[in-house]
Amino acid sequence: MSFFSRLKERLLKSSSKIDEGVDALMESGDEGPVDAIAETPGTAASTETARSAESAEPQPGLASRMLGAVTGRSPAVEKQRVLDDEMLEELEELLISTDLGVDTATRIAANIAEGRFGRRVGGSEIKRVLADEVARVLEPVAKPLPLYAKKPQVVLVVGVNGSGKTTTIGKIASQLKGAGKSVMIAAGDTFRAAAVEQLSVWGERAGVPVFKLPQGSDPASLAFDALAKAQEDGADVLLIDTAGRLQNRQDLMEELAKIVRVIRKRDETAPHNTLLVLDATTGQNAISQVEVFRKIADVTGLVMTKLDGTARGGVLVALADKVGLPIHAIGVGEGIEDLQPFDPAEFAKALTGSTD
């Protein structure tokens, strides 16, 4: 299956929850069904009709993708509701249910209410405005992993346990290789059982060499040696895997700081990128992960994995808002091709269940 259709499938699949939410929210208003055309002159009836095509099951094919809207209700009877305090709170809750966090959810809901408060609004309008608002917050941080002329460009990959670091390295290596770069991977997780074996398989899949030392070796000296080897071999990019570590483990964070220090002994401009891999299922702790890893290891960008599930990764919105680190890519599966550029508009639509 192509990346695109997989992504679409994902978006369609995951767009149902909050969408139901917005519709349910409209239901809970005391306004009865009203004639949308009469009541909201701004709504173009034709696009609404097109959009209403029910698409419960993901379907490939351009047409259904175009029609992949999920309002599931004829616009002629679209519910409307006065945007009051109660509805505002319900909107906040919908956002909270995507892991946006209470703070950011409140702010975004308030932005939406501006100019609409006390006015009747329809479900599709709310969805669209929500998506726009979220996209607006995300736009400035959507940046692909920058590639430099510097050889080798050293990319250090960090994060808490099990977030998807090793898998993401495999995926990035494969993409870079595909783009004609000569890539090397360093198996810097010298702690976890079979971490080296796991990465070796990824190296084979991506067709790039993996630099390894026995389990239990010092990860900092491994990184140093790997960089020396990459320099020697004239590699374009060196991707360094690290063991998973929780950000509140001071000893392990110090180990990470040491890895960075030692790499700089070999090349003081390195690491050129430090990627923090976040798991989309993680809740508000992701914020603390970003703050601490950034402090310790100068994180330059984020990758969010496991967005192929039902987790919406709303915490990225909070992060964009509060921290503003670039978001480079998203992981949408366990396969080598399941790494997508981060597209704020698509992400926002999936998050809010919006469709246009």
């Binding site: 808490v160 059982a193 796991q198 929780l246 299922t281 809740g283 496991k306 599930g309």
Partner: protein
């Protein structure tokens, strides 16, 4: 990072009526803040809503105890409900039970990718082997993730538990079959099936795990969930429970600094007990789940408030006051020690008390490592009970022959009596030091003030990073006897407890 619930509530509490029963308005105001706190702790929205609803119906009209503020009353009701909802089997004396009596008993581990299944499989195998003397076989059914089978194999070798030989190319169902055969033939008590990580919405993989379940008919199916999980916890819990059938939950990464709201979501949605928690990457870092601690963690303040709350219930103020005065004078005999020990037991054991004090998590673990549990406390009390009146008042009387008698009377060995005496001496020394410090007025706003507090409601000790008196709603209940350096009133506990307790554990 999170605004402590206590801070949020302090404003609300000010407005609460001061007496009688809780009104709906009181409760509504306080519960709004509680709801926000739950959401910030990653409790899933529908679960938080439902929970708040339940608490509300309990709280409205509830009588406010004399010694607490309405706000504290609400907190207590919230905390109790949280604890009841979370209650797992770790709180029972025997710890969590696994249905693994008829050998070979299959245990299946399921969950999302990277949640910690493989690590937990090995941890649990080690526990069952070492604690329960079971013969365990582990099998990896993960045909998906690179080197997943090798990972389990390596862990097996590390903990001395057998793993099913790896046969490339087999399906998970075939491996499960082979594991069952091998387990029967090899005389294993339990065989553990570590499955591949899967998303609950991945039809193919969910069907696969159903097929494995139908083949193996596991006696236990444990859902392994990352405690850092956010709102998605409800979906995960619901789907895995409905499709695969879950008998219990394991929460991993509880060593992180997440608030652990996923625990409540899991418990509420599956209705199944949380059996264990993972507290590190190392294979011995598996613990039983304790509702009390997690409730406090989710509330983000539980710590202090529960301590205060429980203390209010369990302590006789006057007695404590008297005791505190004596202690300030450096008098601390076996009767005093016994009171201390009994209080600790009421407060949920040493780890219970310590676990409630922010920043004490590590110490708690040490104490647990030293077997500072209720059983030890009970034995210590028994030892004191076997002393004569005179001996209790003048511990210096305790010579060899008396010790022997006491040991026999309380059913312990003499070294244990010695440990108790040593501990008493250390504590007494500390009391003396404390008394002196108090006189020099070194503890302004701390202990001295608290002890001197008239009318029963002394000011609380300063919260970390907060000036005393900033929390009007929290004005304790403070029974005297808090100690400096630790926030809030820690009733009746001696100062510098950690150092002073070296004689108490089994080790040393």
């Amino acid at each position: 990072m999170f605004e402590a619930l206590s801070d949020r509530l302090s404003g609300v509490f000010d407005k609460l009526t001061k007496q009688g029963a809780l009104t709906e308005a009181d409760v509504q105001a306080a519960l709004r803040e509680v709801r926000t706190a739950l959401l910030e702790a990653d409790v899933a929205l529908p679960v938080a809503r439902d929970f708040i609803g339940r608490v509300k119906s309990q709280a409205v009209g509830a009588a406010v105890l004399k010694s607490v503020t309405p706000g504290q009353m609400v907190i207590k009701i919230v905390h109790d409900e949280l604890k009841t909802t979370l209650a797992g089997e770790g709180d029972a004396d025997e710890g969590p039970k696994l249905k693994i009596d008829s050998p070979p008993a299959p245990v299946m581990m399921v969950g999302l990718q990277g949640s910690g299944k493989t690590t937990t499989t090995a941890k649990l195998a080690k526990r069952l082997k070492e604690r329960d003397g079971k013969k365990i076989l582990m099998a990896s059914l993960d045909t998906n993730r690179p080197a997943a089978m090798e990972q389990l194999q390596i862990l097996g070798a590390q903990v001395g538990v057998d793993t099913l030989p790896i046969v490339p190319g087999q399906t998970p169902v075939q491996i499960a079959k082979r594991a069952k055969q091998q387990a029967s033939l090899g005389g294993y008590d339990v065989y553990m099936l570590d499955t591949a990580g899967r998303l609950h919405v991945n039809e193919e993989l969910m069907a696969e795990v159903e097929a494995v379940r139908d083949e193996a008919k596991p006696h236990e199916t444990l859902l392994v969930v990352d405690s850092l999980t956010g709102q998605d916890a409800v979906n995960v819990a619901k789907e895995f429970n409905e499709r695969v059938g879950v008998s219990g939950v394991v929460l991993t990464r509880m060593d992180g600094d997440g608030r652990g709201g996923a625990a409540l979501s899991m418990r509420a949605v599956t209705g199944k007990p949380i059996k264990f928690v993972g507290v590190g990457e190392k294979i011995d870092q598996l613990e039983e789940f304790h509702a009390e601690r997690v409730a406090g963690r989710i509330l983000g303040m539980g710590d202090i408030v529960t301590l205060v709350e429980k203390a209010a219930e369990t302590m006789e103020r006057e007695a404590a006051e008297r005791q505190a005065k004596r202690m300030m004078k450096g008098r601390f005999d076996m009767n005093d020690l016994r009171q201390q020990l009994e209080q600790m037991m009421k407060l949920g054991g040493m780890s219970g008390v310590m676990g409630m004090l922010p920043g004490m998590g590590k110490l708690t673990k040490q104490l647990e490592g030293a077997n500072m549990d209720d059983k030890v406390l009970k034995r210590q009390v028994a030892i004191i009970q076997s002393m004569t009146k005179d001996e209790r008042r003048k511990p210096e009387l305790l010579q060899a022959s008396r010790k022997k008698r006491i040991a026999a009377g309380s059913g312990v060995e003499v070294p244990e009596v010695n440990k108790l005496i040593k501990m008493h001496r250390q504590m007494q020394d500390m009391m003396k030091k404390m008394g002196k410090m108090g006189k020099k007025g070194l503890m302004r706003g701390g202990l001295a003030q608290m002890l001197g507090g008239k009318g029963g409601l002394g000011p609380s000790g300063p919260m970390p990073g907060q000036a005393p008196g900033q929390m009007p709603g929290q004005a304790p209940v403070a029974p005297p006897g808090g100690f400096p350096g630790l926030p809030g009133a820690a009733p009746g506990l001696p100062p510098n407890l950690p150092g002073g307790l070296s004689g108490l554990g089994k080790k040393k």
